[in-house]
């Protein structure tokens, strides 16, 4: 077969496939939510205790409570859409969801594509869960050692570059914890808040484990709205809500309710907005 013809035809097939551009995102999200009588929020379904699945099939967690609070303030119903790190920004840009509350770190690169609401609602850093017998004392101790991690976590690159561990990245937390339990790695690098809550739960399984290092690289977490709306009615509404959450202690109360060790960030913000 004529090679050029073949290539041309293959390109035509690809082009036909590529048609179907995403629908234009509607501008006034606040109006849209009120019109449809429902707020659609992208949340996590695999990140206890922020957003996780209940045996009844419902989603639960601190961020779910926050999403429900927003819906209540608007006087509308709620729909929760489980998202993952790789699709949440696209969903928001396409207009499939109105809001992201999904353990999302706030950084300059993401600010170019989506609207991060300030003040931030949480801050988490990086640390390591390790068996006490591994005897880790400082970050440099990780050099050349096998360390379990989660695929695609933002801190992997930084830890790798600074301390040179041999990172073993897994798809999910249970997989990584299984590898840690089996001794396939000396520690599990993850969010300090998660490690603290796991250890604080007082489970016998973790009595020989510790969080030995100094928490580094504190990253604020943000609720996000579509970028064009950051300074529109929808963005302003969410900024006001976020301030109130800090001011009236909602976030501190939720943190306590879900058994998360109190973060200095929330206590500080509460004091700042109250005072």
């Amino acid at each position: 077969m004529n090679r050029r013809l073949f290539l041309g035809a293959a390109l035509a097939v690809l082009a036909a496939f590529a048609i179907g551009a995403p629908a234009e995102a509607q501008q006034n999200t606040l109006e849209k939510i009120k019109q449809r009588g429902k707020l659609i929020v992208g949340v996590k379904n695999d990140y206890k205790p922020w957003g996780f699945l209940d045996p009844s099939g419902a989603l639960k967690g601190m961020e779910i409570d926050m999403a429900e609070d927003v819906a209540k303030r608007l006087g509308v119903g709620i729909e929760l859409v489980p998202v993952v790190a790789s699709n949440r920004q696209e969903f928001l840009q396409q207009g499939k969801i109105d809001l992201i509350i999904a353990t999302m770190g706030d950084n300059p690169k993401r600010r170019e594509v989506i609207g991060m609401i300030e003040p931030n609602y949480y801050a988490g850093g990086t640390n390591v869960l390790a068996p006490k017998k591994a005897g880790l004392k400082k970050w440099a101790d990780l050099k050349g050692k096998k360390v379990c991690a989660i695929q695609g976590a933002y801190y992997n690159k930084r830890v790798q570059e600074l301390y040179g561990p041999d990172l073993q990245a897994f798809a999910g937390i249970p997989e990584a914890l299984t590898a840690l339990g089996a001794g396939n790695c000396v520690g599990f690098v993850y969010d300090n808040t998660f490690i603290e809550s796991t250890l604080a739960a007082g489970d016998a399984k973790w009595k020989d484990y510790e969080m030995p290092l100094v928490t580094e690289d504190e990253q604020p977490w943000a609720v996000a709205v579509p970028l064009p709306e950051l300074n529109g009615p929808w963005g302003e509404f969410m900024k006001k809500v976020s301030v109130e959450w800090h001011k009236n202690g909602t976030l501190l109360a939720l943190e306590k309710k879900w058994g998360i060790k109190q973060s200095p960030f929330l206590a500080e913000m509460n004091k700042k907005y109250k005072g």
Partner: protein, 280 residues
């Protein structure tokens, strides 16, 4: 096949073979038993490993069964829809491949080869990311949830595989059939509809069922693009439990469901192949 080479000219029209399937049925029982025996110790081991004060493995699996089942139903629904769409479009594509018009033949050949040799996951990503989440037709907004896009994404490779099944079946019919139809004065359309395709149906059934079984087992792929099906819900359940000891039993449990669904299809395919077996 130990049968001596048959001199008969119309192998398709052979009488139905007596059910030699008793041995096969024994095989079924044996495989099922082995599966049960293999999973039992794993579960018991899990029970023993569960720390005191924790719910047993079986109780935990039972607790999550309704959620996992709701996801599994979606898997089956996706597989049925993708198969229906893929079969309808694949049949047309297969017929186009035996067209007398060279451009139609060439074009359909190209489409078939493209979708048959593209990784399923890549096609899924294309469909999920490139299709809009809703379509506006006039004033009506039709939402396109992720699982519908996944159905389209899976239907494409199914279409190409079914097209090959159809084309292969048509070309496997002895040319004498075409000649005979011509001698009777049938048009090409009549020959296809009245003589060729009816003979193809039996030949196409086993490979078609094979495609379906493969499709069903491929449906967990859609978990990667965010559809809340069995695989995704199982993962979420594991995260909610935060118990590493559940990892193996829970995925094994899900595997057993797929096995119980696909295994009878595989056996039936084998049985049909034997029944419609063509003497070498």
């Amino acid at each position: 096949m130990s049968r001596p080479p048959s001199p008969r000219p119309f192998p398709v029209l052979l009488p139905v073979r007596p059910p030699a399937a008793i041995a096969a049925r024994w095989g079924d029982c044996r495989t099922a038993t082995i599966l049960a025996l293999a999973s039992a110790p794993l579960l018991l081991m899990g029970e023993a490993l569960a720390a005191p004060g924790e719910a047993g493995i079986v109780a935990t699996l039972w607790k999550w069964t309704p959620v996992m089942a709701s996801g599994f139903v979606l898997n089956l629904w996706i597989s049925v829809l993708a198969m229906a769409i893929g079969t309808a479009s694949g049949a047309v594509l297969g017929l186009m491949q035996v067209s007398l018009l060279a451009p139609v033949r060439g074009g359909s050949w190209l489409v078939t080869q493209f979708f048959r040799n593209a990784p399923w996951l890549v096609l899924l990503f294309y469909c999920i990311l490139l299709m809009p989440f809703e379509i506006r037709l006039g004033g009506v907004v039709i939402p396109l949830p992720a699982w519908i896009k996944a159905v389209v994404g899976l239907a494409l490779p199914v279409m190409a595989n079914v097209a090959e099944v159809v084309r292969g079946a048509i070309q496997s019919i002895p040319t004498g059939q075409w000649d005979g139809a011509k001698a009777l004065g049938l048009t090409r359309l009549q020959t296809m509809g009245l003589v060729i395709l009816p003979q193809c149906l039996k030949r196409m059934l086993p490979p078609w069922m094979n495609v379906y079984a493969i499709l069903t087992m491929a449906t967990p792929l859609v978990s990667i693009v965010g559809v809340q099906e069995a695989m995704n819900l199982t993962r979420a359940a594991l995260n909610a439990e935060s118990r590493p000891d559940l990892l193996i039993p829970m995925y094994l449990y899900l595997l057993v469901w797929f096995f119980l669904y696909c295994f009878p299809i595989a056996r039936a395919t084998l049985w049909l192949e034997r029944r419609y077996g063509v003497a070498g």
